[in-house]
C-alpha cells in the first residue's frame, strides 16, 4: 500500500523467556516463555488494545516493549530507534519518548515522595528547566489529569485509588512522551472510577497526540478505547484486527470463546445460547504444547494443530490470525 503510515512502534518476533533455576546447585533447568514470538505495529495516534486471560503474558509484553526487561530475542523500534538490543544505560536518554502507566497505583508510587517530587523527578533527570519552571510544569500536569493543585505536597497514601492513578498518569506525561503503555491501568479501580480514568486517557490522547498500547482483560473497555485489538494466548498473539471487525467477526477459536464470555446486559438479547466454554486449564508457559499453543483446549482442534505451529495469515487488510483453519 502506498499510503501506509509508518508505525511509531514496530515489534518483531519479541521473546521474553525467564530462566528457571532449580536443584542443589541452582542450575538453569528451563524457562518460562512468558512472551514467545510476538509481532505487531502501533501507528501514531492510535490505541492498540492487548487482551488475554490472566498469565498470558500481556503485562510482560508491555514491559518488554519498553525494555523494562532485558529481552531474550526480537526487534523493537520506537520512533525510528531500535531499542531491542540497547544497553539499559543507553536507553535512559530515550525513556522520555516512551512511558508506562502501571497497574497497581498504590505500589507503583514511592511512598516516601510527595506528589510533586514524583512528577518532578523525571524533569530533574531529563530537562534543564529552572526550579520555578519545573514547579509550574508539575502544577500544569496536575491540572491536566484533574488533580487539585493544593495536593502537590501530599504523599501517595493520602489519595484514593483513582487519584493515585491520576498521579501515575501525570508522572507518565511529564516528559511529553509519544508512546504510553497502559498496563491494566483500570484493573485496580472500581467501576465508576474506571470510566473516569479511561475518559481521562482518551482526552489526553486527543490533547497531546499520544499513542497507547492498552493492556487489559476487560473486553468491553478495550472495545471502547481501542482502534485495533490484539488477542494474546500463552505468550503469542493469536489474532489482530480493527476493533469493530474483531468484536463482530472474530476468526480465531480462542477469540470467539473469549468474546462469547462477555456478559450481555440485555437478557432478551442474550438468547444466543452459544457460549463457548473452554475445557481444562492454560498449559504451563514453561512447557507449552507442541504445535499450536491453543490445541489442548481448542473446540475445533485438528490433527495438524498438534504437530505444526500455525503461521499468521492476513485474512483482510489489517486482520491477521494464526490458526490452521484459515491456512490457504
Amino acid at each position: 500500500m502506498f499510503d501506509a503510515p509508518t508505525p511509531l512502534v514496530r515489534v518483531r518476533d519479541l521473546k521474553m523467556h525467564f530462566p528457571i533455576y532449580s536443584g542443589l546447585f541452582r542450575k538453569r533447568t528451563g524457562e518460562v516463555k512468558a512472551v514467545d514470538g510476538v509481532s505487531f505495529d502501533v501507528f501514531e495516534g492510535e490505541t492498540l488494545g492487548l487482551v488475554g486471560e490472566s498469565g498470558c503474558g500481556k503485562s510482560t509484553c508491555g514491559r518488554a516493549v519498553l525494555r523494562l526487561y532485558d529481552i531474550t530475542e526480537g526487534e523493537i523500534t520506537i520512533d525510528g530507534a531500535e531499542i531491542g538490543t540497547k544497553d539499559q544505560s543507553d536507553l535512559r536518554s530515550m525513556r522520555p519518548v516512551m512511558q508506562m502507566v502501571f497497574q497497581d497505583p498504590q505500589a507503583s508510587l514511592n511512598p516516601r515522595m510527595t506528589v510533586e517530587a514524583i512528577i518532578r523527578e523525571p524533569l530533574d533527570e531529563h530537562t534543564t528547566l529552572s526550579a520555578a519552571e519545573k514547579r509550574e510544569k508539575v502544577l500544569e500536569l496536575m491540572d491536566a489529569v484533574g488533580l487539585n493543585r493544593a495536593f502537590a505536597g501530599r504523599y501517595p497514601h493520602a489519595f484514593s485509588g483513582g487519584q493515585r492513578q491520576r498521579i501515575g498518569i501525570a508522572r507518565a506525561l511529564a516528559l511529553n512522551p509519544k508512546f504510553i503503555v497502559c498496563d491494566e491501568p483500570i484493573a485496580a479501580l472500581d467501576v465508576s472510577i474506571q470510566a473516569q480514568v479511561v475518559n481521562l486517557l482518551e482526552d489526553l490522547q486527543e490533547q497531546f497526540g499520544l499513542t497507547y498500547l492498552f493492556i487489559s482483560h476487560d473486553l468491553s473497555m478495550v472495545r471502547h478505547i481501542a482502534d485495533r485489538v490484539a488477542v494474546m494466548y500463552l505468550g503469542k498473539i493469536v489474532e489482530i484486527a480493527p476493533s469493530d471487525v474483531l468484536y463482530t467477526a472474530p476468526k480465531h477459536p480462542y477469540t470467539q470463546a473469549l468474546l462469547s464470555a462477555v456478559p450481555e446486559p440485555d437478557p432478551s438479547a442474550d438468547a444466543r445460547g452459544e457460549r463457548i466454554v473452554l475445557q481444562g486449564d492454560v498449559p504451563s508457559p514453561s512447557n507449552p504444547p507442541k504445535g499450536c499453543n491453543f490445541c489442548t483446549r481448542c473446540p475445533k482442534v485438528m490433527d495438524i494443530c498438534k504437530e505444526v505451529e500455525p503461521a499468521s495469515v492476513e485474512l483482510a487488510p489489517g486482520h491477521v490470525t494464526a490458526c490452521h483453519l484459515y491456512q490457504n
Partner: protein, 335 residues
C-alpha cells in the same frame, strides 16, 4: 509528634517504677548474702552489726523506697552540685556499693568511657560495614559477593565472641605480636604515640564485636533491600529513566532504611550494657565487667542501679525508634 513523645515519656514513668520494683524483688528473692565473702573468723554478732550498717535489717519496702529516693532525688542533686558548684545535696546519703564502699555512680562514671570507646566504637564500625554489605548483597542477590557475605554473617552470628576473641589473641598477640592482648585502662592519650597505642589495644575487641553486630545488621539491611527492590515503584523509577544509582540509593535505600534505622536504634542500649564476655576476654574494665563482678559479690545496690539504668536506656531507645519511624515514614502518623 511532640505531644506523642511527651505522652510516651509520661507513660514511661509507671513502666520504669514497675521495672525497678521487679528488679528489686528479684534481687531480694535471689539467694546469696553480701556478707558471704567476709572472712570466716569474723564473729556472728559483728557480722550482724555490719549487716545493720548496710541497712539490711530493714524490711524490703523501706530499702526499696530509700533506693528510689536516692536514685531519683539524691543522686541528681549531687550531679547538679558537681556541675554548678551548688550544694543541694547537703551531704545526703548516696547509693553506696557494698563491695567498694564508694558511691555507685562514681564507679559507673569511671567505667563508662572504656565501654563507650570499645563497645560503642564496635557498634559504629559494625553499622558502617553492615550497611554497604547489606545493600550490595541484596542488589547482587545470589552472586559470589552475596554468598560470601552470607557465609561471613553466619560465622559472625554463630561463632561466640569468647571463641573469636581468644582466636584473635592467639593469632595477633601471641603469634604475630601485633596487638596487646590486654586493654590498658591507665593509658592516657596525649600524643600521637599514645593514640596509636590506644587504637592498637582497641583493635581486637572492636573487631570481635563489630563482626557480631555487622552480621546481624547486614542481614537485616539485605532483607529490607530485597523487600523494596521488588516493589513496583522501583520499576516506575526505572521507567522514568533515572540512573541506576539514583534508583537504588534514593528510591530503594531510603525506603529500606526505615526498619533498619529502628533496629539500629534499638541496639544502642546494648552498647551501654557493655559486652560482658568480650570485656572479660580482653580485660576491658567497662560496665559489663562491673556488672558481672557486682553479681558475683552480691553487691545489691550496684546490680540494682546498673540494671535499672539499662532498663531506662531500653525504654528511651524504644521511644526514639518509634519517633524515628514516624519521622522517616510519611504513612505513619502519631497524632
Amino acid at each position: 509528634m511532640l505531644t506523642y513523645t511527651i505522652r510516651r515519656l509520661l507513660l514511661a514513668i509507671p513502666t520504669l517504677l514497675f521495672i525497678a520494683l521487679v528488679i528489686f524483688l528479684l534481687l531480694e528473692l535471689s539467694p546469696g548474702d553480701p556478707m558471704a565473702q567476709m572472712p570466716m573468723s569474723i564473729p556472728p554478732e559483728v557480722k550482724e552489726r555490719m549487716r545493720e550498717a548496710l541497712g539490711l535489717d530493714q524490711p524490703w519496702w523501706v530499702r526499696f523506697y530509700l533506693w528510689l529516693y536516692q536514685f531519683f532525688v539524691v543522686e541528681p542533686q549531687y550531679w547538679i552540685d558537681g556541675l554548678f558548684g551548688t550544694d543541694f545535696a547537703e551531704g545526703a546519703q548516696r547509693i553506696i556499693s557494698f563491695q567498694s564502699k564508694s558511691p555507685v555512680f562514681d564507679i559507673i562514671a569511671e567505667r563508662i568511657p572504656q565501654t563507650l570507646w570499645v563497645v560503642g566504637m564496635s557498634y559504629v564500625v559494625g553499622v558502617l560495614i553492615a550497611l554497604p554489605i547489606g545493600i550490595a548483597s541484596a542488589y547482587y542477590q545470589y552472586s559470589w559477593f552475596d554468598q560470601i557475605g552470607t557465609f561471613i554473617s553466619m560465622v559472625g552470628f554463630s561463632v561466640p565472641t569468647f571463641f573469636t576473641g581468644v582466636l584473635l589473641i592467639v593469632i595477633f598477640s601471641v603469634n604475630l605480636g601485633w596487638f596487646p592482648s590486654i586493654y590498658d585502662t591507665t593509658l592516657v592519650v596525649d600524643s600521637w604515640a599514645t593514640l596509636g597505642q590506644q587504637i592498637k589495644q582497641m583493635a581486637m575487641p572492636v573487631f570481635v564485636l563489630a563482626l557480631y553486630n555487622a552480621a546481624q545488621i547486614s542481614r537485616f539491611m539485605r532483607a529490607s533491600m530485597l523487600d523494596n527492590l521488588g516493589q513496583d515503584y522501583v520499576r516506575t523509577a526505572r521507567a522514568k529513566g533515572m540512573h541506576e544509582k539514583v534508583v537504588v540509593l534514593r528510591h530503594v535505600l531510603r525506603n529500606s532504611m526505615i526498619p533498619v534505622v529502628t533496629v539500629i536504634a534499638l541496639g544502642v542500649p546494648q552498647v551501654f550494657g557493655g559486652a560482658i564476655i568480650t570485656e572479660q576476654v580482653f580485660k576491658v574494665n567497662g560496665l559489663g565487667q562491673l556488672l558481672i563482678l557486682a553479681v558475683q559479690g552480691n553487691d545489691i545496690p550496684m546490680v540494682m542501679t546498673l540494671t535499672f539504668i539499662f532498663a531506662v536506656l531500653i525504654v528511651l531507645f524504644n521511644l526514639i525508634a518509634d519517633v524515628l519511624y514516624g519521622l522517616l515514614d510519611p504513612r505513619i502518623r502519631y497524632d
